[in-house]
C-alpha cells in the first residue's frame, strides 16, 4: 500500500504474464487443429487460406465411386454461402438470415445444439443489398464465432451453444450489415463490414476473443489515425519499388470530405501469417456511386492490405483498381503460399480479383511480382504496369472516358467480376490455383432514370452477357457459357487448363492430396475433377444450386466431403435476374432477364441442405 503505483504496475505485469499463455494457446490451438486434416477449422482450411487438404483416401482413381453419405436440411430458403467447419469431430454449419448455427454429432447425425440470434428482420433485411447470405463461422478458444447479419458479432460456447458474449460491430441504421466469416488470430477475432452501396466506410476490426472488447479498427480511407497507416513506415508499390506512403494518403486522393462516405468495405475473407504476424485482406469499391463525381484514385478502396495482427498498423497496401468505374470490388480472398518467382523464393500472397487479374506479391514487403489475366477475355485494361502497379485502362471500356451520354459496350469482365467471393484452392502437388470463375461481359447504357430512396437521377443500365470468347486466348468463339473453372500458375501467370460451365461457378473449391479438386455448380452439381488435367471424374446433383464452399475432413478413419447447397445470393438474384439473354435493347431487371432466369430456375429451386459425401464401405 505504500507504493500503490508500483504494486499496480506489478499486478498488471503479472496479469500480462498470466494472460500470455492463454494468448498463445488460442493461436497454437487453432494452428494445431488446422494441421490435422481430420478437422476443417477455418474457412480456408488453414490460416494461409489454401483450402488444401492432406487427405488422400478419396483420390483421382476412386472418386468415381463417391456417394452421398448423409444430408441435413437447414430449414432456410435463402442463399447458402460458406461451408461447414469440423472441429474435434463436431460439425458446425450456419445459415443465411436468420443466421442459425447447428452443431452436429457426426456419429448420430443429431443436432447437439442450435442457436438462432434475435434479429429484427425489419431492420436488417431491407439494408442487405444482395440477399442475406452469411459466409460461415470461425472457431477458436473453445468458441464458435458468428458474425450476424445485423453486425452483431457473437461468441458461442462450442460445446453448449450458449452465448458467451456479443458485440455490436457496426450500425445497421447507417446501412452497415455483415456477411463475412470472422477469423480468429491469437487472442483476437477479426471481422469486417458490408454496405458499400449505402456509402459505408469500410474497416477491419479486431475484438478480444474472451471479452469482445474492441482491440483495434483500421478504416479503408480517412486520416492516418483512422486507417492506421504510418507515414514513412507503411509502404506501397510505386515506381518499381516498395515505397513508404506519405501522410494522410487515405484522404489525399479524395475531394473534400467524400472519403467519409468512401466505401471500401471488407466483406471478403481474411488470412493470416503467424510468422510475419500479418493479417491480409482486400477492400471493396469506392462510394459515391458515380465515378465522375469522385475524382481521384479514391485510396485505399480496391486494395490489398497487410496489417499487424496485434495493433492493426498497416505494413503495406496495394491498390489494384484506382478510381474504379466498373464495380470491380477488391474483396476477394488472399492465399499465402511460398513460391519461386523469377528464380527467387518469395513468401507470396496470391489474389484473384474481380477485375480479372491474378496478383502475386511478396507478402512480407508488398512487392508486386506477377499480375496477369486469369481469363483472357478481360479487356478493360491491357495489362498491369509492373513499375507503377497501375492497370493500363483501355479508354474504349471506360464509362467516364466515353462521357455519360454514350453506351459502353462489351466491357469484360462484367461487374460481378471474372471471379467473385467464392474462394480458390491451391494444391502444392501441382503448384496450381483452382479458380471458380464467371465468364461474362457487360454493357453500360446511360440515360436510364434511377430512383433511390425517393430521389430520381440519371443512372445507367447494366446488362450482362456471355463473354463469348476463349478463356485461354481471349479470341471470340461465340461460346455461351457463363462460368469457367480454371487452373492457374501464380508463379508465371499462365493458365494451365480451364473447363467451361454453363452458369457462373459460385462455389469455393477444395484441393486434396488425392489429386482431386471439388467444386459446386449453380445447377446444383457437386463435381470432382483431376487436379492435373481438369478432367471431370464425378458429379452428383444436390437438392439446390450450390453457392457454398466445398470442404473436406475425416471422421472415424473415413474421408468426407461436404457442401451446403441452396441457391440465392447474387448468384440467384444477380445472375438470374440481372442477366441479358443476348438480345439487344433489353433492360437490367426487366424482360431481358426472363430467358436466362427461366433457364436457371428450370434446373434448381430454393432450399438449404448440407450434403456429405464419402466412398462406399
Amino acid at each position: 500500500m505504500k507504493k500503490p503505483v508500483k504494486n499496480w504496475l506489478l499486478a498488471s505485469t503479472v496479469a500480462t504474464l498470466l494472460a500470455a499463455p492463454t494468448v498463445s494457446t488460442a493461436n497454437d490451438d487453432l494452428e494445431k487443429l488446422t494441421k490435422n486434416p481430420a478437422n476443417w477449422a477455418t474457412w480456408g482450411g488453414d490460416y494461409a487460406g489454401t483450402r488444401y487438404s492432406q487427405l488422400s483416401q478419396i483420390n483421382a482413381q476412386n472418386v468415381k465411386n463417391l456417394q452421398p453419405a448423409w444430408s441435413f436440411s437447414t430449414g432456410v430458403l435463402r442463399g447458402h454461402e460458406g461451408g461447414p467447419l469440423v472441429v474435434n469431430g463436431v460439425l458446425y454449419i450456419h445459415t443465411p438470415f436468420p443466421n442459425t448455427v447447428y452443431a452436429i454429432d457426426q456419429k448420430t447425425k443429431a443436432v447437439i445444439w442450435e442457436f438462432t440470434p434475435t434479429m429484427d428482420a425489419d431492420v436488417t433485411i431491407p439494408v442487405m443489398c444482395c440477399d442475406t447470405v452469411n459466409r460461415g463461422l470461425a472457431y477458436g478458444d473453445g468458441k464458435i464465432f458468428l458474425q450476424q447479419s445485423d453486425t452483431v458479432l457473437t461468441a458461442l460456447d462450442a460445446k453448449t451453444g450458449k452465448r458467451v458474449w456479443s458485440v455490436q460491430n457496426g450500425d445497421p441504421k447507417l446501412g452497415m450489415t455483415n456477411t463475412n466469416a470472422p477469423l480468429v488470430v491469437k487472442d483476437k477475432v477479426i471481422t469486417g463490414i458490408s454496405g458499400g452501396e449505402f456509402g459505408v466506410r469500410g474497416f477491419l476490426a479486431a475484438y478480444d476473443i474472451r471479452t469482445g472488447q474492441l482491440a483495434w479498427k483500421g478504416y479503408s480511407m480517412g486520416p492516418d489515425k483512422d486507417t492506421l497507416l504510418k507515414p514513412g513506415k507503411s509502404t506501397t508499390w510505386e515506381n518499381g519499388k516498395v515505397t513508404p506512403v506519405g501522410a494522410d494518403s487515405g484522404t489525399s486522393t479524395w475531394k473534400g470530405d467524400q472519403w467519409k462516405i468512401g466505401g471500401g468495405t471488407t466483406w471478403g475473407w481474411y488470412s493470416y501469417d503467424p510468422k510475419l504476424n500479418l493479417v491480409y485482406y482486400g477492400s471493396g469499391n469506392p462510394s459515391t456511386w458515380n465515378p465522375v463525381q469522385r475524382p481521384g484514385d479514391n485510396k485505399w478502396s480496391m486494395s490489398l492490405w497487410a496489417r499487424d495482427a496485434d495493433t492493426g498498423e498497416v505494413k503495406w497496401v496495394y491498390q489494384m483498381t484506382p478510381h474504379d468505374e466498373w464495380d470491380y470490388d477488391g474483396i476477394n480472398e488472399t492465399v499465402l503460399v511460398d513460391q519461386e518467382v523469377k528464380g527467387k523464393m518469395h513468401k507470396t500472397i496470391v489474389h484473384f480479383d474481380r477485375n480479372g487479374f491474378g496478383y502475386t506479391l511478396d507478402r512480407e514487403t508488398g512487392e508486386l511480382l506477377v499480375a496477369e489475366k486469369f481469363d483472357k477475355s478481360v479487356n478493360w485494361a491491357t495489362h498491369v504496369d509492373m513499375k507503377t502497379g497501375r492497370p493500363a485502362v483501355v479508354p474504349e471500356f471506360s464509362t467516364e472516358h466515353h462521357g455519360e451520354d454514350v453506351n459502353t459496350v462489351g466491357t469484360c469482365p462484367a461487374a460481378l467480376g471474372s471471379k467473385n467471393q467464392q474462394p480458390v484452392s491451391y494444391s502444392p502437388q501441382t503448384g496450381l490455383f483452382y479458380i471458380s470463375g464467371n465468364h461474362l461481359c457487360m454493357e453500360y447504357e446511360p440515360f436510364e432514370v434511377s430512383y433511390t430512396a425517393g430521389q430520381p437521377y440519371v443512372g445507367a443500365t447494366l446488362s450482362m452477357m456471355p463473354a463469348g470468347a476463349d478463356v485461354l486466348t481471349g479470341k471470340k468463339d461465340d461460346s455461351t457459357n457463363l462460368g469457367q473453372f480454371t487452373a492457374y500458375d501464380a508463379k508465371t501467370g499462365k493458365i494451365a487448363w480451364s473447363n467451361k460451365e454453363q452458369f457462373s461457378v459460385w462455389s469455393g473449391s477444395v484441393a486434396t492430396a488425392g489429386g482431386v479438386v471439388f467444386y459446386g455448380t449453380l445447377e446444383g452439381y457437386l463435381k470432382a475433377v483431376d487436379a492435373k488435367t481438369g478432367k471431370e471424374l464425378y458429379k452428383f446433383k444436390t437438392p439446390s444450386g450450390i453457392i457454398g464452399n466445398v470442404n473436406t475432413w475425416e471422421f472415424e478413419g473415413k474421408q468426407y466431403v461436404g457442401v451446403l447447397s441452396g441457391i440465392g445470393g447474387w448468384a440467384g438474384i444477380g445472375i438470374a435476374a440481372g442477366l441479358d439473354d443476348g438480345s439487344s435493347s433489353t433492360n437490367s431487371e426487366g424482360l431481358g432477364a426472363v430467358g436466362a432466369y427461366r433457364s436457371l430456375s428450370s434446373y434448381t429451386k430454393l432450399g438449404g441442405t448440407l450434403t456429405v459425401f464419402a466412398l462406399p464401405n
Binding site: D122, P126, D171, F198, G256, Q258, N290, Y451, T452, P456
Partner: protein, 286 residues
Amino acid sequence: MKTISTATKFLMMASLASPALTAHAQDKFRVCADPLNPPYSTKEQSGYENKIAALFAKQLGQELEYTWLPERIGFIRNTLKAENDNGEGFKCDVVMGVPAGYDLTDTTKPYFHSTYVLLIAKGRGWDDIKDSTQLASLPLDKQEKLKIAMFDRGPGTEWLQKNGLLEYGVPYQSMTGDNEHNIAMQIEQDLRAGKIDMVILWGPMAGYVQSQSSKNSYIAIPMQSSPDMKFDFSIAMGIRQGDEKRKQQLNDLIAKNLDKIQAIVAGYDIPLLPIPAQTIKKDDDD
C-alpha cells in the same frame, strides 16, 4: 401410402381452386410503400402517395391494401416483383411513385413533374443568393464557408463537381439503413441545427423540409437542367412489366383525376412544372 396420395389430391384441388383466389385478390388495390418516407408515404397514410392511392381505391370501389418495406436497393425486387409466400400472386401490384421510364418497372403516364431545388436556410449569410450560379462564382474565402449537403448519388453532387465545389460538400448517404428516420427528415434536422446551410434536394423532399418550419424560413431556387445535367423528372406509377390491364386502368384514372392529383401534390409544398410530352423509350414501344 394412401394418406400421401390423398394429400396429393388435396394439393391438386387447391391449385385448381387458385384462379378463384387470384380473382378475389384482384378486388383489392394493392400497393407497396415505404412505411416512413415523408412526404411520399407513411404507415399512417399521411403522404401524398397515400392520398392518391386512397383516391384511386375509392374510385375503383376496392379495398386499399399495403405491403410496407423501406424503399432501398432491392425494393422493387422484394415488393412488386416478389411472389407471395403462398406462391399466389405478388406482394402488391402498384408502386405509387417512380420516375417515368424507370427501368425496373413498367410505368404509367406521368402524373406530375418536379425539379431539384437549391434550398438555403435564411439568416445564415446567404440571403442574397438568387441563382445557383452565384454559388459557383463566389470568392474563394466565401466558398470555403459553404456548408452544402453532398449525396453519394444524384445530380446535386454532379453540379457541385462541375462547379468546383465538391471540396466544400458535407457528405450524406442517399439512403440509410435507418428504419426510424429517412433522408428528408435528417436533412431537415441538420438544416435547422446549422450543420448545413443549404442543400440541392429533389422537389418533394424540399417541400417536406419547408413544410416543417414557419413560412419563409428558406430560399428555394429551382435548379436548371442543361443538356448534360438533368434536374427535372416526371413521376409515374410503377407496375410489373406485362401487366397491361392494370397499366390501362391506372392511365385512365390518372387522366380522369389529373387535376385532383396535382392539387394533392401541390398541397405538400412540392414545386410543380408542366408535364412534358412523354419521351417514349425505345424498348417500350409496344
